[in-house]
């Protein structure tokens, strides 16, 4: 008789952890079928390709942001880093006539440097991530505008342009643009890294309880620097994607995009108090926002509806998260 309630509790807990894993995916399907009921065009191959295409810029940056949020941090400078990376890549191609591949690596390196700077400021000066990255948000944006003299840089067409563009008819067999495949590949690698490596587990440990992690011998500072450097690098790669999509280095691009990136992570199950989050969830979160935008625009609903619906989804995601926590506790 005593065993029965215990058993029930376990299965209850299991059910919630199942929701934890597949909740965002379930939400994605719900949102998708909701819009498909209004307009079947959203289920066409063309529409799916466009939606994946429009998710990549946020999605790539969200991979890095997930690491930061799991470690109980935040990176507000992501949007500015994206703009800087797009400017650096375009400048290296246009003014220095470098090979597109070298220019792209230069843009990503710029992101890495910004990320390292964030990490070092946070660990060495013992400052709050929110404040440090709020500062670098302005610094990096300023540098991007300065480098570009505040005007967009037209770098011209190279193979980089094809990274994030609708597929030409003879390459439809690829299903989604090369940039999207790159995002999927990186997501699998980083998800594996988080789950199976020591450093990956340490990120969770730091985010769950920093003091305990330190007592257990985790090099907390080193983990943090790594996490911000990784976030900067992924933002840099995302900047390369922006540059490919827009075919311009844009110093005023991606303004406020950090909020969309953070929202993607949170919708995907990331917790701003740290210790929780998944790469798959974050990508699904980014996809949900794209589906809402595309769905509203396909139905000709005004822009304010799109924004309001996206806001509601973020709040519902957080509410479900909160509910789940209270049930498990």
């Amino acid at each position: 008789m005593m065993a029965l309630p215990k058993k029930r509790a376990i299965s209850f807990e299991k059910r919630w952890s199942w929701l934890n894993k597949f909740g965002p995916l379930l939400a994605l399907f719900l949102v998708f079928f909701f819009f498909a009921a209004f307009n079947s065009k959203i289920a066409s191959f063309n529409a799916l390709e466009i939606m994946v295409l429009q998710t990549v810029i946020v999605g790539v940056a969200a991979i890095g942001m997930t690491l930061v949020i799991i470690s109980a941090g935040i990176d507000l400078s992501a949007g500015s880093i994206i703009a800087l990376s797009s400017v650096v890549t375009a400048l290296l191609m246009k003014d220095f006539a470098l090979d597109p591949l070298v220019a792209a690596l230069g843009g990503i390196a710029a992101g890495l440097i910004c990320g390292l700077l964030n990490g070092l400021l946070i660990t060495r000066l013992r400052l709050v991530p929110f404040i440090v990255t709020l500062g670098t948000l302005l610094v990096v944006r300023g540098v991007a505008k300065g480098l570009a003299r505040s005007i967009p840089i037209n770098a011209g067409q190279t193979w980089l342009s094809g990274l994030l563009a609708l597929l030409p008819p003879d390459r439809k067999w690829m299903l989604i643009p090369p940039g999207a495949w790159l995002m999927v590949l990186l997501a699998i690698i980083v998800a594996g890294f988080l789950r199976y490596t020591k450093l990956g587990r340490h990120i969770f440990a730091v985010g769950s309880n920093e003091d305990t992690a330190r007592l257990c011998g985790v090099a907390v500072e080193r983990v943090k620097v790594f996490v911000y450097a990784a976030a900067g690098t992924f933002a840099g790669l995302s900047g390369l994607m922006l540059m490919s999509y827009q075919e311009q280095g844009d110093p005023t691009g991606a303004v406020g995009l950090e909020l969309e990136i953070i929202a993607a992570v949170v919708i995907g199950g990331g917790s701003l108090s740290g210790g929780e989050g998944s790469i798959l969830g974050s990508l699904v979160g980014a996809m949900i926002m794209t589906v809402i935008r595309t769905g509203c625009q396909l139905n000709g609903w005004p822009t304010w509806v799109t924004q309001a619906v996206t806001g509601i989804v973020i709040i519902v995601a957080l509410a479900v998260d909160q509910l789940r926590h209270s049930k498990i506790d």
Binding site: K41, N46, Q248, D250, A254, R293, T294, Q297, P302, W304
Partner: protein, 333 residues
């Protein structure tokens, strides 16, 4: 120890500067402060060049002082206040905000420093400022509508992709466009509810989704024309059309003239751009101020004009001057 004297030194310096300045007034050598919204954009550099031209022609001094960013209201308010302290003879101002800049402008005028407003309006302040020198944005939208109607032969379906909520100048362009396009009975506006948003990437995404929405099963667009009311929305639409291999397949009228958009015009991907005249705005802003200071009557509202530029116009020298003014001639030292 020295720090104790700093305020006194500053005070005496300021007083000395002020008296110097008043002395200059007596000699009839006018100093006019020109305060733009920003200093780096091509648009503002053209305004600067125009102001320099007027200053040279009319033999006055101009002070070119602008905020570093185009959205720093606080800094612009400080700049206006500083010019009042410095007792310039007049201020030519492009207000960053139609409400926030009213107080400093009023302070200037009560201190006998007249203000000419350029580029963007100041709300309910006709009795304060001397003159308003700017593009007639509503007319710009109307011109776009007339030209788009001509391009599609007077009947068909058109899209208006708006810029952003709360932007006064583009709001007027959108209203002017809708007003005028409704006069054509054969034309229906199939979408005017979408805003492109602040960045080009957002504009491009909104455009892609509009294209998806109006794409027929044969891959062609069920739309004949599109109008975008500023640089970022025009570029986003151009980029989305290109990547859907639809550029040039429908008539496209944009606003403003960035290098990338002129290229689109050359390639027949854009069929017309409505272009403002910032050089003329800077020139007439300073000229109007000088006329006022010299006791001549001036117009309360001066329209600096908008021009429709098609591909065939690109070779005309006056259009070339408009889209690529010789800034070095005026701004080089």
């Amino acid at each position: 120890m020295i720090s104790r004297f700093v305020p006194y030194i500053l005070c005496s310096l300021t007083l000395g500067f002020l008296s110097c300045n008043q002395g200059k007034n007596a000699q009839e050598e006018l100093t006019i402060a020109v305060i733009p919204k920003g200093t780096t954009h091509m648009f503002w550099q053209s305004i600067h060049a125009g102001a320099v031209k007027a200053a040279q022609e009319l033999d006055v001094n101009i002070l070119w002082v602008g905020p570093e960013k185009e959205d720093d209201r606080q800094q612009q308010i400080t700049l206006v206040d500083t010019q009042i302290l410095a007792q310039v003879d007049g201020i030519v101002l492009a207000p960053l905000d139609d409400m926030a800049l009213r107080r400093p402008v009023r302070t200037a005028v009560t201190n006998n420093i007249p203000v000419v407003i350029i580029d963007s309006g100041l709300k309910d302040s006709e009795d304060i400022y001397t003159s308003f020198v700017a593009t007639d944005n509503r007319e710009g939208g109307r011109i776009a509508a007339r030209e788009l109607a001509r391009l599609i032969g007077g009947h068909g379906k058109v899209i208006l992709l708006r810029y952003q909520e709360g932007s006064a100048s583009t709001d007027n362009r959108e209203q002017g466009f809708l007003e005028q396009i409704q006069e054509f009975e054969g034309i229906t506006v199939v979408s005017d509810e979408q805003y492109a948003g602040a960045t080009k990437a957002q504009a491009q995404q909104a455009s892609e989704n509009l294209i998806l929405r109006f794409k027929a099963s044969n891959g062609m667009l069920a739309v004949d024309g599109v109008f975008c009311p500023n640089e970022s929305s025009t570029y986003g639409m151009l980029q989305a059309l290109r990547r859907n291999h639809l550029a040039g397949k429908l008539k496209f009228v944009g606003f403003d003239a960035a290098e990338s958009m002129i290229e689109g015009l050359r390639q027949d991907e854009i069929h017309g751009l409505v272009v403002q005249n910032p050089f003329r705005m800077g020139y007439l802003g300073v000229k109007t101020m000088v006329q006022h200071l010299r006791g001549e009557p001036v117009e309360k509202r001066i329209d600096t004009g908008v021009t429709f530029v098609g591909k065939e116009d690109l070779s005309r020298p006056e259009i070339r001057n408009l889209i690529d003014p010789n800034l070095e001639k005026w701004l080089a030292r």
